[in-house]
Each structure stands twice: as C-alpha cells, then as structure tokens.
C-alpha cells in the first residue's frame, strides 16, 4: 500500500477496504487488529461539534511514525506489519480520521500492538486538532494520554 501516513480530508471507507483486502496476501498472519477513530458529534456547552480540522508538522510525521513502528516491532516480535493513516484538514462528524491496522501471527500481539500504536500516535505524532462547532466557533483540543 501507499507509504503516506497523512491523508487529506477523511480516511475513506474505500481506502480502509483496500487495506483490509490486502491482508489475505499474508498467510503467516493469524490475527489482524484494527482501530478506527471517528469524529464524534459531541455536544459541548450547548454547541455541537460539526467537524475537526487537523493540522500537522508534515515533514516530521513520517519520521515520527517510523519511530513508533520500530518501537512496536521491537516490543512485539510476532507482529508482521503495521499500517497507519491519519487525516489532515477537515473531517466532518461521522467521518474517519485515524486508521491503524496491525497484523501478527497470533491474536495477543496483534491486539496489544494495535492498542499501543494508537497510544503512541496520540503521544508522539505532531498533529493538532481543532473542534469546529455548528455556530462556527472553535476550540483547540489536547489529548488525554492513557
């Protein structure tokens, strides 16, 4: 698949389908764990989130993602592959902003490695989100790290 982490706008269902269709090529993988992050239409103080605008330090994203992937591969030796897609730009409520897919020989490493990859993305990827409300006001968000 493509080597790009950042996807302009939402991560589309077609893109996710393409990644999931590719997994059958690996007959050494018994478990695939996938995480999909979606923009919630949260109500905050009477206003509804209609979209999130993501911005990124684009040239640092690939090296930071590679560092995350290397950390995971060295901690979980049964992991065969790790894919990360993250939106940049506007993603509307109900649309997808993050896709992580981890394939491993067995389920435990697939599940644990996917979970840890998501946490490391929140912690290390130089990306910022701005919630945009239905009255067009906005608020910058900060991640709650696990």
């Amino acid at each position: 698949m493509s080597n790009n982490i950042l996807i302009p706008g939402p991560v589309t269902h077609d893109l996710i389908t393409a990644y999931l269709n590719a997994i059958s090529n690996r007959t050494d993988a018994g478990g695939h764990s996938c995480f999909i992050g979606q923009v919630r239409a949260d109500n905050i103080a009477g206003k509804r989130v209609k979209a999130i605008e993501y911005s990124a330090y684009e040239k640092m994203v690939r090296p930071e993602a590679d560092q995350i992937i290397n950390m995971i591969l060295s901690e979980f030796d049964d992991v065969k592959s790790i894919d990360i897609l993250h939106s940049v730009g506007i993603v509307k409520a109900g649309e997808i902003s993050l896709f992580v897919l981890v394939s491993a020989g067995h389920r435990h490493h697939a599940i644990q490695a996917c979970s840890k990859t998501v946490e490391l993305i929140k912690e290390k990827l130089p990306v910022w989100k701005k919630e945009i409300f239905n009255d067009n006001s906005h608020e910058w968000k900060q991640n709650n790290l696990a």
């Binding site: 992050g37 330090y57 929140k122 990827l125 130089p126 990306v127 900060q142």
Partner: protein, 77 residues
C-alpha cells in the same frame, strides 16, 4: 543569519501566523526572548520546541537556516 520559526496548533492564533523569520538570534533562549517580545501572550501556553525536526529540551545554539518549531501538546488521533 536567519532562522525560520514555525508555529502550530493554538500558537498560530497567538502569533497570527504559522511561519516567521528571525534574524540574528544565536540561541533558543535568545529566540524565545524575541518571540515573547513580539507575542507576550505566548507565555500562557505550553509548548515544546524542535530544531530541524529534533525535539530539544535544553537551550541550543542556532545556526543560519535552522528550522525551529513551537509545538503545543499533540492532539492527533
């Protein structure tokens, strides 16, 4: 000498820009002083600083052409 300073996230609102050049700053501490001079509000925000894509935690000497980023806490995902 000139360095390129990038601002991200909420800092783009504090500074009203995402990129600004500074002349004749020889260290991070010196640059921070100049930026606080231009944007006094920035002292109310948390941020980390990278020099040429490497996050730094201490003061550092700056060289001509360096790219410095002021980054609030990440909020991807």
């Amino acid at each position: 000498m000139v360095v390129k300073v990038l601002f991200f996230g909420v800092l783009t609102e504090v500074t009203q820009t995402s990129c600004k050049h500074y002349n004749d700053v020889n260290s991070i501490s010196h640059l921070k002083f100049r930026i606080q001079d231009d944007f006094p509000e920035i002292v109310h925000y948390n941020f980390r600083i990278s020099v040429n894509n490497e996050i730094i935690n201490d003061d550092a000497v700056l060289n001509d052409g360096d790219e410095i980023a002021f980054m609030p806490p990440f909020s991807g995902g």
